[in-house]
Amino acid sequence: MSKPIIAEIQKEQIRRLASEGKRMDGRGFEELRNLEVEVNSIGAAEGSARIILGNTDVLVGVKMSVGTPFPDKPNDGVLMTGNELKPMAHQDFSVGPPGPVSIEIARVVDRGIRESKMIDLSKLCIVPGEKVWMVFVDIQVIDYDGNLFDAATLGALLALHNTTVPARKFEVGENHKLPVNGWPLTVTSSKMDDFIMVDPVLLEEQVADARLTVSVDENDFIRAMQKGLSGAFTYEEVVKAVDVAASLTKKLRQKIISTGE
């Protein structure tokens, strides 16, 4: 019974701060944490990015190989996104195959890449129906302090934007950059009572009622959305969250493109 009681106390504290417009770490409700990025530190990967968002630390690696296409998409390369919440990253994570939480993150990142068409999979065809490029995006969470949706998405985008297709290794031409378009970045909002804050830390996540991740691209199009947790949003709150995401992803994109890449 201790866990619910602690959660209640935490909730109380966060509520008191929030009612004064404050957060635990001094941020505003619509303010992201400090961000550090590092690309291609993993020499064995075709592309990689490390995202340090506050105390959340995520490493994303991209590997490519030549394989056979899915029978129903003979002219398309294959994209696979995996995510593991390793026990290294938090005391509550355990060894074993990915559970629902890991899978949801992997699938949201995957859809963010796939449905925004930032990779044109048809350009990854080598011989139709026979040989295509397989792109494996593997997300490894190293230290977990909340908001993996945004950290993992950003890591995947940066890793893909810095990926070199290893064509020589597979004897299908010269190495070249993976053709990638656009930056469908996400911003996640977390709701507790009527307070909605972006980029929640772990303690804020643990007491949250509902979560909304919104992906916006460089042309202000909404590209993906995922609501989570067993709370509810009003229509107005959703519309507001979309506005906040549009504005914050724009700032983030400028920062990334100017420095990170």
Binding site: P100, F221, I222, M225, K227, S230, F233, T234, Y235
Partner: protein
């Protein structure tokens, strides 16, 4: 990208629907004998069964919550429910859908009335044709009510999206495959709250708002069908023999 025309010159869709028109929906409550509650939904070509057991003992035990019931949803597509056979057993898509449907249902179930117990919801998609998560959540919600488990309200679910540049309601199979966006919504008509929301594709903010409103309106209609199914179920009499199951599919 969309070569095939999804909306004709007459403004009608492939299957003859208007942009804001739902596929035919049929809902029945109380279709199974063993389950504590059940529902069957036909929605276009989708055929979905939902069964509810509980509140009952939590299994495995360590998942037990001393303050409330846990809600465990298992969404599954039958091996033969789609064109290419699905290998039995859980997959990543089913795991995600089970999670978000469970979260949506949990919001309306009075879980604090049943500490240490479990409400287990099983959704079986017998035939699938775009929109199974909406049909599944809609069915599950009726099944929970049929089980007599107290809820603040029913959850309704419906999608809107975009095809051929137009915002449309309740995407069919080719619209889902070839269209520009899909926005499945879980909604509580009485309070206007949103408990399930996903989106992928490509929408301006104005289009997104239009799609949301279209889906919310449709949810209000489906809500009436849910209540009607429960009314018919109780008219037959909860204590009497259940509706013969052979009527379910015919």
């Amino acid at each position: 990208m969309v070569e095939e025309r999804l909306i004709g010159d007459d403004g009608l869709r492939e299957d003859g629907r208007k942009p804001d028109q739902l596929r035919p929906i049929k809902i029945e409550a109380g279709v199974l004998h063993n389950a504590d509650g059940s529902a069957y939904v036909e929605w276009g070509k989708n055929k979905v069964l939902a069964a509810v057991y509980g509140p009952r003992e939590v299994h495995p035990k360590f998942l037990q919550d001393s303050t409330k019931a846990i809600v465990q949803v298992t969404y599954n597509m039958a091996a033969f429910s789609v064109d290419d056979r699905i290998r039995p057993g859980p997959n990543r898509r089913a795991t995600e859908i089970s999670k978000i449907i469970g979260e949506a249902l949990e919001y309306v179930i009075l879980t604090h009335h049943f500490p240490r117990s479990s409400v287990d919801v099983y959704i079986e998609v017998l035939e699938a044709s775009a929109g199974t998560r909406c049909a599944g959540l809609t069915a599950a919600s009726v099944a929970v009510a049929d089980a007599g488990i107290p809820m603040t309200d029913l959850v309704v679910s419906c999608a809107a999206g975009k095809a051929d540049g137009q915002i449309i309601l309740d995407l069919g199979k080719s619209e889902d495959n070839l269209g520009e966006a899909d926005v499945p919504l879980g909604y509580i008509p009485r309070t206007g709250e949103i408990v399930l929301l996903q989106m992928d594709g490509h929408l301006t903010k104005a289009e997104f708002e239009k799609a949301m409103n279209m889906a919310m309106n449709a949810c209000k209609d489906i809500y009436e069908m849910q209540k009607d199914a429960l009314r018919r179920r109780y008219a037959v009499g909860a204590d009497e023999d259940k509706t013969p199951t052979q009527e379910v599919i015919e």
